[in-house]
């Protein structure tokens, strides 16, 4: 089956994103004996524990010690293994940030980090367990590919792509059940290549992770009730960013909204803003996400609504942006 999944997609619909990850990793590891897993006492929560259930001896539990764990992963990669490392995103990106940067990225090692409980997906746990900084941190690390899949099935696609890519990869996924964006893995997924989820030329909504579903829902409503045709891009790879898709969005639609379950500083919105600013072309632009604050306690859905990056928040922002008046010139080249 496409994407390397042999477990049933009907089953998959009942699985949390992490469960799909655990199962897909076990299948990948079955085929590739050089794959090993590492976790820091979070085998159950991250579901990397499925690897140990299915292939005993292939998972190393390093105890609650993330810095050592990422160093060990580097040593393993230097000795021919391909480690997949899972812990919560907040601990991967910050507790062990230097080990990922210096031991793994600097040496350009074949280590795959699958960081779970990203964004505010563990919202009720409070700020210590939210992770709204990782995209900003990770995309400044040279050699690192940074991926934020839209749902469980895309996580499976990303996992396979990460294995096939030689070099370090960081994949951030959510705790719990993601709204399914895809109903099969039978679609083209390429690292660094955005996927158009909804066609449109009035504006472009660029989303990643859990916000892709919301962006697509908002685009459907915009089309139906407002007659606004919004293009929706699933920007699953934050780095390398699909700059071509962003530039095309600027040229075609001249209005862009980014949406992410992350601080609006440093993440997807900032990455897209870099491209827009460097293009020299005029473009109305809004970043949706967490407005440089720590999120309150709450369910992910509710926090998204609170900060205005759920379906309704995206709708509101789209209506605001469509009314924005700014100078447009026919010949963009003149303005560069």
């Amino acid at each position: 089956m496409a994407g390397g999944v042999t477990f049933n997609v009907i089953d998959a619909k009942d699985m949390a994103t992490t469960e799909m990850y655990g199962n897909a990793l076990a299948e990948l590891a079955q085929k590739h004996p050089e794959i090993v897993g590492l976790t820091a006492d979070l085998a159950k929560s991250t579901k990397i524990g499925v690897l140990e259930e299915k292939l005993p001896g292939r998972l190393y539990n390093m105890g609650i010690a993330e810095q050592n764990m990422f160093g060990v992963a580097a040593g393993m990669a230097l000795s021919g293994l391909v480690p997949f490392v899972s812990t919560f995103a907040t601990f991967a990106s910050m507790r062990a940030g230097e080990q990922i940067r210096t031991d793994i990225c600097y040496q350009n090692l074949n280590v795959k980090v699958i960081a779970t409980h990203a964004g505010v997906s563990f919202g009720t746990a409070g700020t210590t367990h939210h992770c709204t900084e990782d995209l900003g941190i990770m995309r400044t690390m040279a050699n690192l590919t940074v991926v934020c899949p839209a749902d469980g099935l895309e996580t499976v696609k990303a996992l396979t792509a990460a294995y096939e890519h030689k070099g370090p990869v960081y994949i951030r996924i959510n705790r719990g059940y993601d709204k399914p964006v895809y109903d099969s893995t039978d679609y083209d997924f390429e690292l660094g290549r955005a996927i158009t989820m909804h066609e449109g030329s009035d504006m472009t909504i660029i989303a990643c992770g859990a916000t892709v579903f919301r962006a697509r829902e908002a685009a459907k409503i915009l089309e139906k009730s407002d007659g606004i045709h919004a293009r929706v891009l699933n920007m699953h790879t934050i780095k390398p960013l699909d700059t071509e898709a962003v530039l095309k969005a600027v040229k075609d639609t001249r209005r862009i909204i980014t949406v992410e379950d992350h601080n609006i500083v440093g993440g997807l919105g900032s990455a897209v803003a870099d491209v827009i600013a460097s293009s020299g072309m005029g473009c109305a632009f809004l970043k949706l996400g967490i407005p440089d604050t720590f999120a309150p306690v709450g369910l992910q859905e509710d926090i998204m609504a609170y900060f205005g990056y759920d379906d309704n928040g995206i709708l509101k922002a789209a209506r605001e942006l469509i009314g924005k008046v700014f100078e447009e010139k026919e010949n963009w080249e003149d303005e560069v």
Binding site: V36, Q67, G71, A74, G75, S79, T102, Q107
Partner: protein, 283 residues
């Protein structure tokens, strides 16, 4: 097996020559972490010239023994070892620390042949060494992994995370050393952050723990033999060493942790090293 007389004198001469080359390289670099490079040098010498299974013609040979210089600031000593072993030409060391050189003071594995891991930030070497040791077991290879930590480095929490894991995973194929020269950048380790009772800590963490004079080839050899004989737990060899060992005027002075080296200091220090080794050889 105790060192034979021949082996002993061969290692003594090699340590002297490597100290001299390290001073030349420090001069070419303009400055270097001389103190810690000279304190660790006898450990590097006995590993690379007596124990380690390596082949300079095949730096990526999968069955080679591994060495991680966790105290990466002593890279100037390790690069001298690599040049002498033939991983690259000695003249390449003349570019050490120069703009665009392949050699910075903390060595880069992707540029320096012979180097098993890029180090420099402290507290990283033992985890990487453990990863290599676990990989040997996982892939059915029987190489041994050695690593040298600085004593000040053992303030880092990640060292103790790794220590716990080394024992948990019964990493008998891993031998760690601490270059216990007693000094870190700001002064005596016992004043900056007390480490003692140091050996007790490693014992409590599950290591076969040995303490030796880190400038005595015979004692080092006995300790490494003991490490290789124990296969169900990792070994820590705490090496009592002298910072700037071989340069009498600088010995034990933390101010020579990092220093500029001009022609005059190079010549004087080399003269001092020759005298030191002549006396040590005669013991």
């Amino acid at each position: 097996m105790p060192l034979t007389e021949d082996e002993f004198f061969r290692l003594e001469d090699k340590a002297r020559d490597l100290r001299l080359l390290t001073m030349d390289t420090s001069f070419w670099a303009g400055s270097a972490h001389v103190g810690g490079a000279l304190s660790v040098l006898d450990i590097l010498t006995i590993l690379y010239y007596k124990y380690m299974k390596v082949d300079p013609q095949r730096p990526d040979w999968e069955d080679r023994d591994r060495f991680i210089l966790s105290k990466g600031h002593a890279g100037v000593a390790l690069a001298s070892v690599f040049a002498d072993k033939g991983y690259f030409d000695v003249t390449e060391l003349e570019t050490f620390n120069h703009n665009m050189s392949k050699f910075g003071m903390h060595l880069d594995r992707n540029k320096v042949k012979g180097l098993d891991a890029s180090t420099g930030s402290l507290g990283h070497g033992l985890p990487i060494a453990l990863g290599m040791a676990l990989a040997a077991k996982s892939t059915g290879r029987n190489y041994h992994v050695y690593t040298v930590l600085g004593d000040g480095e053992c303030d880092e929490g990640s060292v103790w995370e790794a220590a716990m894991a080394c024992a948990h995973y019964k990493a008998g194929n891993l031998t760690a050393f601490v270059d216990r020269n007693g000094l870190s950048i700001d002064g005596a380790t016992e004043e900056v952050m007390a480490l003692e009772p140091f050996a007790d800590k490693w014992k409590a963490f599950g290591f076969q723990t040995l303490e030796v004079d880190g400038h005595d080839m015979r004692k080092l050899s006995e300790a490494i033999d003991s490490a290789l004989a124990v296969t169900d737990k990792p070994t820590m060899i705490i090496c009592r060493t002298v910072k700037s060992c071989g340069i009498s005027e600088w010995e034990g002075n933390y101010k020579w942790h990092y220093a500029g080296i001009n022609e005059d200091t190079r010549d004087k220090s080399k003269e001092s090293i020759r005298k030191y080794h002549a006396a040590r050889r005669g013991k």
